[in-house]
Structures are given as structure tokens and as C-alpha cells.
């Protein structure tokens, strides 16, 4: 039996995996690493960037608040005066749990993985609100380029710190680039603003020990796949069924592995059931196949919003491995 890491590599390289890679099994994500303040359910917090988030009790996650009182950046031309970069340096005490976790990982079996969120695109609209951030791409492109470069530099400085501390092998990087049926911006606009900064960032991570870049965007983004490949992404996590994943695998398989196809919005809800999950897993595995594909809920971490859903998907994937391998 192959290790989790070997099985992943066989899957990604079109070789001989002996089972499906099962969701996030190959990543050991070091969530203890310090990054920034995150809200908990029921909280309203303001983080180190000055962005205020609300996480209403009973809801699935936090939302940035963008009314006039809370929006950080109201005029992109003033971004240098307004946007203050948080420190990326943390005390030994803050790092200790992350280092302990990283040291406990069997690196022959799994990747010690950095979790990085929010990505540069998300940061622009977290700071400005979606409408302002999107319009500024047309109206004030030079300032947007500057802001994106600034945000990328922040990521690189954080990368230096965490690479030194935990010596990770993989990066799990969040940045949602679309909604359910379309990317937020055209591929050309995406290339103009985000391709080069991402190439720079992902090259830096890879030049410093990262072997695997897993990018999360639980959305439609099929039209951005060539850019994903160009910027150095190895695995796109969060690929939704709206992308026609089997076709993407045929077209781009050797260059990119697709992780998802189990839409969390459809499967992960209060009245979920095992049978429906098993049906979706079966369809995903049969239509996407054994190579360049990892069946996984589209949620951006290794758990579900409702208890039992993630485990039910894991179990169903194991069953499909028995049938198809």
C-alpha cells in the first residue's frame, strides 16, 4: 500500500495510485501557526488590518462588514495612508504549538502544510468592499497594482517567518476568485492584476522548500485554469461541479490536479444524509477518474460545517476506492 504522499504523487503524475486520494488526508495543516485574529461564532472582531468581521451565531462563517463606519479603505488613492500592514513577527511562545505540531508529522506520509488566508484578491475586497475593489480595477488601476504588490510583499514576509519556524512542505492558500457560475473578473483582467503577483508569491514559497501548492477557490474558475497553471498551482481545491471538472481533467490533467467536485452547499447542511453523499461521491469518482482528481468537499478546510458530513464523504470515497481500484 502506498503512503498518502506516494499515492497523491501517483495520482498527480498519472501513474499508478492504489486508491483515491481521500479529501485532505495528505495535508497536515498547521492551524496553530500565528497569522491574525480570527472571529469565533457569535463574535464581531476587528483584526490586525482593521477589518471588522461578524460571525453571526448559527452561521457558517464570518463576513467582513463594509458599511461606512467599518470599511477600512474608502478611497483607493489614499491606500498608502490608510492601509497599515500588521507585523509578521510573533514570539517564540506564539510559535511553539505550531512547531510542536509540525515536528509530530510523519513527513514521509503527509505534507506539513501552511494555511494562508486571505489571498490578495480577497484582501482587496475585504479592505474596500467588493464593489469599490472591482471598480477600482478599471478606474484606478495603478493604485490597485500598488496595493496588490503591497499585499503580496506582506505574504512573502510572512512566508519567510513560517518557513524558518516550521519548515513546511506544502502551502494551502485561500483566495476565492469566483461565484458559483462565473469568475468574478475576466481572465484578461485577472492576468493583468493578479497573475504576476501570484507567480512571484508562489515562486518564493517553492524556492524555499514548498513542494506542493494547493490553492482554494470554491467557485467556478474554469476560465482561470491556464493562469493557475502558469502561476505554479499544483492542486486546485474547491473545484465545483459547475466547472465541468471531467472536461478540465481531460484538457489540463497533467498540469493541474483538481480537488473537489463534492459541492459543500449541496451536501453539507442540517438535513444531510449518507445516501446522497454516497451518490455524489460515486458520480464524482466515476466521471472524473483516477488521475489528476481528488474527491473532496469544496469546503476550504478538512472538516464540514455540520458534524458527520466530512466523515461520511471520507467513508464513501473509501468505498469507491474498493470498487474502482
Amino acid at each position: 500500500m502506498l503512503t498518502k504522499k506516494q499515492n497523491l504523487l501517483e495520482t498527480m503524475n498519472g501513474g499508478n495510485p492504489d486508491r483515491f486520494v481521500n479529501q485532505y488526508e495528505f495535508l497536515d495543516i498547521i492551524l496553530e501557526a500565528p497569522l491574525r485574529t480570527r472571529p469565533q461564532p457569535g463574535d464581531i472582531i476587528t483584526n490586525e488590518w482593521g477589518i471588522t468581521y461578524s460571525w453571526p451565531e448559527g452561521q457558517l462563517g464570518p463576513f467582513p462588514i463594509h458599511d461606512d463606519e467599518h470599511r477600512v479603505l474608502k478611497d483607493i488613492t489614499k491606500w498608502r495612508d490608510v492601509v497599515k500592514c500588521p507585523s509578521v513577527e510573533f514570539s517564540d511562545e506564539r510559535w511553539a504549538p505550531a512547531i510542536e505540531h509540525a515536528n509530530s508529522v510523519d513527513r514521509d506520509d503527509k505534507y506539513v502544510t501552511v494555511f494562508f488566508a486571505s489571498g490578495t484578491f480577497e484582501m482587496t475586497h475585504n479592505l474596500m468592499g467588493m464593489e469599490d475593489a472591482m471598480m477600482a480595477l478599471y478606474e484606478e488601476p495603478e493604485y490597485m497594482h500598488e496595493l496588490i504588490e503591497f499585499l503580496t510583499d506582506y505574504e512573502l514576509r510572512y512566508a519567510e517567518q513560517i518557513i524558518e519556524r516550521i519548515k513546511p512542505n506544502a502551502l494551502f492558500h485561500h483566495d476565492d476568485w469566483g461565484g458559483q457560475i462565473a469568475s468574478f473578473m475576466s481572465p484578461d483582467m485577472f492576468a493583468e492584476f493578479f497573475l504576476e503577483p501570484y507567480k512571484k508569491a508562489y515562486k518564493f514559497w517553492k524556492d524555499n522548500g514548498i513542494e506542493l501548492i494547493v490553492h482554494h477557490s470554491d467557485s467556478y474558475a474554469a476560465n482561470l485554469v491556464p493562469h493557475m497553471i502558469d502561476m505554479g498551482i499544483d492542486i486546485w481545491q474547491g473545484v465545483m461541479t459547475t466547472n465541468n471538472t471531467p472536461e478540465l481533467i481531460k484538457k489540463y490533467g497533467p498540469d493541474l490536479t483538481f480537488m473537489g467536485e463534492l459541492d459543500s452547499g449541496v451536501l453539507d447542511h442540517p438535513t444531510w444524509d449518507k445516501e446522497t453523499i454516497a451518490e455524489h461521491v460515486k458520480k464524482a469518482c466515476e466521471t472524473c477518474g483516477k488521475h489528476y482528481f481528488i474527491p473532496c468537499l469544496t469546503q476550504g478546510l478538512h472538516f464540514s460545517s455540520f458534524p458527520g458530513v466530512y466523515d461520511a464523504a471520507t467513508e464513501a470515497i473509501n468505498e469507491m476506492s474498493k470498487k474502482m481500484f
Binding site: G58, M130, E131, M135, L137, Y138, S183, F184, M185, P270
Partner: protein, 210 residues
């Protein structure tokens, strides 16, 4: 290309710095304000169709809406009385428990461009707030509920049911958002569903002018 055609073309391209000047030039040339407004509405219709077809994306839709809004500012003093295009008032909001606003905002912009007066209740809107807004505003012809979370679908269902059972009349209720399907919309008693902002405007106009 006539001045009116130029106005329409520049709205479609989202030229918010040029459109006000073109509107003024069209007025100076003696074009009827109503026709200039109609040209901008038609331009936004093209934008909505292109958005629905995946030919343009969110930034293009936003700058087009802004361009139209700038044009309307110039036009407004010339639109006496009821000579503007009015499809009535639309009450819009994201349902209780859901804080997503992008989709709802895009729909509101498209509806405004089509000729609705917009009463935007924001996000996390309770049924009571929807009902109060319907009561407090004149000529409400459309109520639009948005929701992006599967967990807030029950809230959407409840709001639609309560609005329908309230005894208030004269409006259609439409719903949308990522987890909403035409089947779900029908099941909860909504009068219409659309998958995106462009087609929401088309649907809304069709419903209120039928």
C-alpha cells in the same frame, strides 16, 4: 452615430466620466430627456444580457451601472413629473441570517437601471422588515429576496410564505442566490427566480409589465 446612440454605447462600456457630458450634449441638441433615459436603460439591458451570457464580468457591470447613474444625475432636472421610466418600487434584501451582499447589490443595480425605484434593506433582513418596507413605501411592485447560504434557505422560505400570507398585494416576489433553484423558488411560492443579475432585471420587467 447619433448623440443618443453614443450615450447608449458609452453606458455599455462603463464610461462614467464621458456619459454625463454626452447626456448634456444630447440635451443641448434637443433630444427628449425621456429618449436619452431610454437609451441608457437599453444600454444596461445589453450589459445585463452580456453578463448573463458570461461575456462580461462583475467589474464591467459595476462601471456600466455607475456610468448610467452619472448620466441620470444630469438628466434628472429635465425629467419633469412622471416622464421618467417607472416600473414601481422594488424592496430588496438578503434574508435573515445571511450577510452576503454582492449578488443582492448587483441585482439592485440592474433593477434600478431598468426603471425600478430601489428600497435596499441590506443584509440579514427579517420578515418583519420586508413587510414594513412593503407597507411604508408607495407603489411596491416587486419584492426581491436574496440568499447565498443553504442554511438560510429556510429563512427565505419563511419570509416568502409570510409575505404571501400578509394580505398585502400589488407586487411580485422573486428570489435568487447560489443555492436557490427554479424548483426551490416554485416550491416556496415565489413568483419568479433568476440565476443572475442580468436575467433578474429581464424577469422583473416582464412580471410587472405583464
Amino acid at each position: 452615430m447619433s448623440k443618443i446612440e453614443e450615450v447608449k454605447a458609452h453606458v455599455e462600456k462603463g464610461k462614467s466620466k464621458i456619459v454625463p457630458q454626452l447626456v448634456q450634449e444630447a440635451l443641448d441638441a434637443g433630444e427628449a430627456p425621456q429618449e436619452i433615459l431610454q437609451a441608457m436603460v437599453d444600454g444596461m439591458g445589453v450589459v445585463g444580457d452580456k453578463f448573463s451570457a458570461g461575456e462580461i464580468f462583475v467589474p464591467e457591470m459595476l462601471i456600466a451601472a455607475k456610468a448610467m447613474s452619472k448620466g441620470v444625475e444630469v438628466l434628472k432636472p429635465h425629467l419633469a413629473g412622471d416622464s421618467g421610466i417607472s416600473l414601481g418600487t422594488c424592496v430588496i434584501g438578503t434574508v435573515a441570517g445571511d450577510l452576503h451582499d454582492i449578488g443582492k447589490n448587483l441585482v439592485a443595480m440592474m433593477l434600478e437601471s431598468t426603471g425600478f425605484k430601489i428600497v435596499d434593506l441590506g443584509v440579514d433582513v427579517s420578515t418583519e422588515k420586508f413587510l414594513n418596507a412593503i407597507k411604508e413605501n408607495d407603489n411596491v411592485t416587486l419584492v426581491t429576496l436574496s440568499g447565498l447560504l443553504s442554511t438560510t434557505m429556510p429563512a427565505m422560505k419563511q419570509s416568502v410564505a409570510d409575505i404571501k400570507a400578509s394580505g398585502l398585494t400589488g407586487f411580485h416576489v422573486i428570489v435568487g442566490g447560489a443555492p436557490v433553484t427554479p424548483e426551490f423558488a416554485k416550491e416556496i411560492g415565489a413568483d419568479g427566480y433568476s440565476p443572475d443579475a442580468g436575467s433578474a432585471a429581464v424577469l422583473a420587467k416582464k412580471l410587472v409589465t405583464a
